[in-house]
Symmetry: C2
Subunit: 206 residues, 2 copies
């Protein structure tokens, strides 16, 4: 089970990476076509043209394969190393939208309806760390007890993912990351400023 990791440094067997790649692509395609729940392992190995036993030699589950796909998405962790104390508050949201936007295809597959549950949880956790780091950087954060802070964090992350969902919809797919970010900031940040009693740069127009 799980013989060789993805494209590990010690250049592994070509067959392995080929197989894993074929399986990932097959599942991604199939999810986009009929949704995660409706896809069977049989479908995947047919599409990938891979033997049944081979599938189980690499992945425990259909879910396991999904996880592998998810891992490729590389949601940026809380890379707070290069933050300066007086950067504008929440200045990094645009970059975040851009990142997610660039992998839209995979995200649409992963986020689509049901399968998202697992994916969401993972992503949510990373984003919460990000938000948490940002809040504790802003001076007013210390005036908040843990409960309120946690509430604001959940709000930030929840709305962010909500905007991603909205962005992924057909009607809004064409929107540039800048516009999505702008909408996010003008709708979300005022509330945060209100609760934290902070002054933030608030875009208006939408």
């Amino acid at each position: 089970m799980a013989i060789g990791r993805d494209d590990a440094r010690p250049r592994r067997d070509r067959r392995v990476s080929k197989t894993r790649k074929a399986l990932k692509e097959a599942l991604t395609d199939l999810i986009l076509e009929k949704g995660y729940e409706a896809v069977t392992v049989q479908n995947v190995i047919d599409r990938a043209d891979v033997g049944r036993s081979t599938f189980y030699a690499h992945f425990v589950d259909k879910d396991d394969l999904l996880m592998a796909i998810l891992a490729d998405l590389e949601v940026p962790g809380p890379d707070t190393s290069d933050w300066k104390p007086d950067d504008p508050a929440f200045g990094w949201t645009l970059e975040l939208f851009r990142h997610f936007g660039s992998g839209k295809r995979l995200f649409k597959a992963v986020a689509s309806s049901q399968s998202g549950a697992v994916a969401r949880r993972e992503t949510t956790q990373r984003l919460e760390k990000l938000a948490q780091a940002e809040l504790s950087r802003l001076k007013a954060a210390r005036t908040l007890d843990a409960f309120k802070l946690q509430t604001v964090v959940r709000f930030l992350v929840g709305t962010f993912i909500g905007f991603m969902d909205w962005w992924m919809r057909e009607e809004n797919e064409h929107l540039p990351a800048e516009q999505v970010d702008h909408a996010f900031r003008s709708l979300v940040l005022p509330g945060v400023a209100n609760v934290l009693e902070l002054e933030l740069e608030l875009p208006k127009s939408l």
Copy 2:
């Protein structure tokens, strides 16, 4: 298939309502125990102590049964009939939280992870109508084009459901509807006011 509808007016066979009720409760319990996806029809009929064929005499699917449960939740439609033109803006959110809070058990089952997808879509639609009605009631709404209005509606509904999710979590289950509503208003409404260029009563403290 689907012999008699739920508790139809012409007082139907007692056995029918009994069976349907047993099945609904069984599924509800099982979802709370192991999650919707993991529950099999077999589990349900075992728990409900109902014959296999009887299940399929009433419901097409596991999903169909879920829908029936969902229907019992009776999300209030956009009952805008008794609104007065100068009611405070979004004055009905507390009532809404109270309503959802009263059926928490069912909601936890339905909203939990995966199964929520279907439920969410239904609920979202009703809530969007509500929000839409409210926005068009506020005078400033006319200054917004359809796109912006739709964006605000999605934001309102998305955050509302987000707060419901948050409320359903173990740690927050005990919170009174008032507090949840208060948090909702102080985090969400400022953004709406900002975009709509409206003056709203904004609670602060959280």
